[in-house]
């Protein structure tokens, strides 16, 4: 591009410098969280130990020994994975039908699905607790957490899948119909391989949202199905006293998902458009 080559030497140096500075500012809070997690609770609040201190793993050993970190972490992995799987299992056929056999109601159905996401969770929390505790007896079970995580993320997942499937030429699907391929065969052998990037990126985003969900998972569980967000909830009070411990628990809760995000960054960058790019 002409404009780039004509740019001054100053621009050539300043541009990356500005980009790096912005990136480091954005990353700083995460760095600080991890950094603080290696301080003792006492060091964490002393200005003289702001940058220089003796690093310790005490917070982490304390966390795994006394706070049962692994149970919360395993629950998070189980519930988020299954919720993502179910959301795809229900969402892919639905988005397939919407993209390749749209009726005049398709758009309204899609919009209505998204609007269910806008219902404030707080407005239906009490009825949900009441129902699951008193009638269904599924309060604090993995089943309930998986179901709820799947349902709250389903609209976004269907929306994303729909926007990818819509980009696939209809002729390909129609040609396979002529060849007598079944609907299931179309989805499995033609659609998913063609839209693989979109499906993967939907799965990834759904998994991230499930992992980070904190409203329902905190309120619909007590012990058995409690996820990492519940562990944070239990450790955040009293504020200001145990920065080291808090930082370690937080690092351990967000660490896996941030690292996963790093590895799948390319996939996410390519996929996350919600139909914004034509």
């Amino acid at each position: 591009m002409a404009a780039v080559t004509e740019r001054s030497n100053f621009g050539k140096i300043a541009w990356p410098v500005v980009a790096w500075v912005v990136a480091l500012i954005f990353f700083f809070p995460i760095f600080w969280l991890v950094f603080t997690s290696f301080k003792t609770d006492a060091d964490a609040v002393k200005p003289e130990h702001l940058f220089f201190f003796t690093p310790t793993l005490e917070n982490y050993t304390n966390m795994t020994q006394n706070y049962d970190y692994w149970r919360f972490a395993i629950n998070s992995v189980i519930t988020s994975s299954f919720a993502t799987l179910f959301a795809l299992a229900v969402g892919v056929p639905c988005a397939y039908a919407m993209a390749f056999n749209p009726s005049r109601h398709t758009k309204d159905i899609l919009m209505w699905m998204l609007s269910t996401k806008m219902l404030p969770a707080a407005a239906v929390l009490y009825p949900m607790t009441f129902l699951t505790k008193n009638f269904l007896g599924i309060f604090d079970t993995h089943f309930l957490v998986i179901l709820v995580l799947c349902l709250i993320n389903l609209p976004i997942a269907i929306w994303m899948l729909f926007t990818y499937f819509k980009e696939i030429p209809k002729e390909i699907i129609e040609a396979s119909k002529m060849d007598g391929v079944t609907t299931w065969g179309e989805i499995k052998d033609i659609l998913i391989p063609l839209a693989w990037g979109g499906v993967a990126s939907t799965a990834l985003l759904t998994f991230i949202f499930c992992w980070n969900e904190a409203y329902w998972t905190v309120r619909l569980t007590t012990v058995d199905a409690a996820t990492l967000s519940k562990l944070i909830e239990g450790n955040r009070a009293p504020e200001g006293l145990f920065f080291g411990r808090l930082a370690a628990v937080s690092t351990a809760a967000v660490g896996p998902i941030v690292v996963l995000g790093w590895f799948c960054q390319k996939q996410l960058v390519q996929g996350l458009t919600f139909g914004a790019v034509k």
């Binding site: 056929p93 397939y96 009726s103 806008m118 707080a122 009490y126 409203y215 944070i232 200001g240 914004a276």
Partner: protein, 312 residues
């Protein structure tokens, strides 16, 4: 099976699940909003269970509408969402343009920039309000104390000292206070969601028609006028999508509000509902119905904006 019934059949599970998920709790909320239902009422034990005999008509709605917290919460919900949207769209655009050029280490820069989006909202709030914004123990307090130290050190210098002795002692801002807690929430949520805007804008910038830009350059258009006349119109749809997806998430903001100040001076509708539901389920449900109405008004507006071009 006919050709039309298969697609319908494929949609049924998703539609049915979402319908049940929406209708069952919502109809219960609607019912509770018309009865007297208070969990801890010792004087009137009959009100502690949901019963049609405790019918209150529009009493709960009346109570909520006359509650000054309610109007404040609506106003505050809107202020928080709109501020976050403005900040994330502006910063998102600027950063997306910034990283759209190739330079050394762009891959790492992107990874660093995107990271906040993966952080759990509860951790985000805990981290910002304690370790960064706390006026005594956080970096906020440490930084202000450092500046005060430097200033008082400079006061001993000849000539310059006279100037610095006029400086006041700086006070760190406390972000848990009534007037400032909303700023803390806006700040931390914007930090988390700007990367989301960057992701979407970045993908969209890459699909921009470069030949159009080259032609504009040859015609002598400045980079700024190219940005305004070519890039911004190209980004209209991604901006609409970013606004819509974020509104969906931020209207139900809860963890951040609770962790920053327990709603002190900074309630939004979901938080107010949460407060009511510790005892007065009737009032909580009525507020919930109002929140549903507000969400629908915004939804209709937003979905129109995006829905138009969805099916092309």
């Amino acid at each position: 099976m006919s050709d039309r019934s298969i697609p319908r059949l494929l949609q049924t599970p998703a539609v049915l699940l979402l319908l049940v998920w929406m209708l069952v709790p919502l109809s219960m909320t609607l019912f509770f909003s018309f009865i007297r239902y208070a969990l801890n009422n010792t004087r009137r034990p009959e009100w502690t269970t949901p019963d049609i005999a405790n019918w209150r008509g529009f009493g709960n709605y009346n109570y909520v509408l006359n509650n000054k917290d309610f109007w404040f919460a609506i106003q505050n919900s809107v202020i928080i969402v709109v501020s976050i949207l403005i900040i994330t769209v502006i910063f998102g655009l600027a950063i997306a343009v910034l990283v759209n050029r190739s330079f050394p280490g762009r891959g790492i820069v992107r990874v660093l920039l995107i990271s906040p989006f993966f952080v759990m909202p509860a951790v985000n709030a805990v981290l910002w309000i304690n370790m960064i914004l706390d006026p005594v123990l956080g970096l906020n307090g440490v930084a202000v104390a450092g500046i005060n130290n430097i200033v008082s050190g400079l006061q001993d210098f000849p000539v310059l000292g006279a100037f610095f002795s006029l400086w006041p002692e700086f006070e760190p801002v406390s972000f848990r206070a009534t007037q400032t807690s909303a700023y803390a929430v806006i700040m931390m949520v914007s930090w988390q969601w700007t990367p989301f805007a960057v992701l979407i804008f970045m993908t969209s910038l890459q699909s921009e028609d470069e030949s159009q830009k080259e032609a504009a350059t040859l015609d002598g258009a400045s980079p700024w006028s190219q940005f305004i006349n070519l890039t911004v119109p190209h980004l209209a749809r991604p901006i609409a999508i970013v606004v819509m997806i974020q509104s969906i998430f931020h209207l139900s903001l809860y963890a951040e509000i609770e962790i920053v100040s327990r709603g002190n001076g900074n309630k939004n509708l979901p938080y107010l509902i949460g407060e009511f539901s510790t005892n007065n389920i009737g009032a909580a449900s009525a507020t919930g119905i109002f929140a549903v109405i507000l969400a629908n008004i915004i939804a209709i507006f937003l979905l129109r904006m995006v829905g138009k071009s969805l099916m092309d």
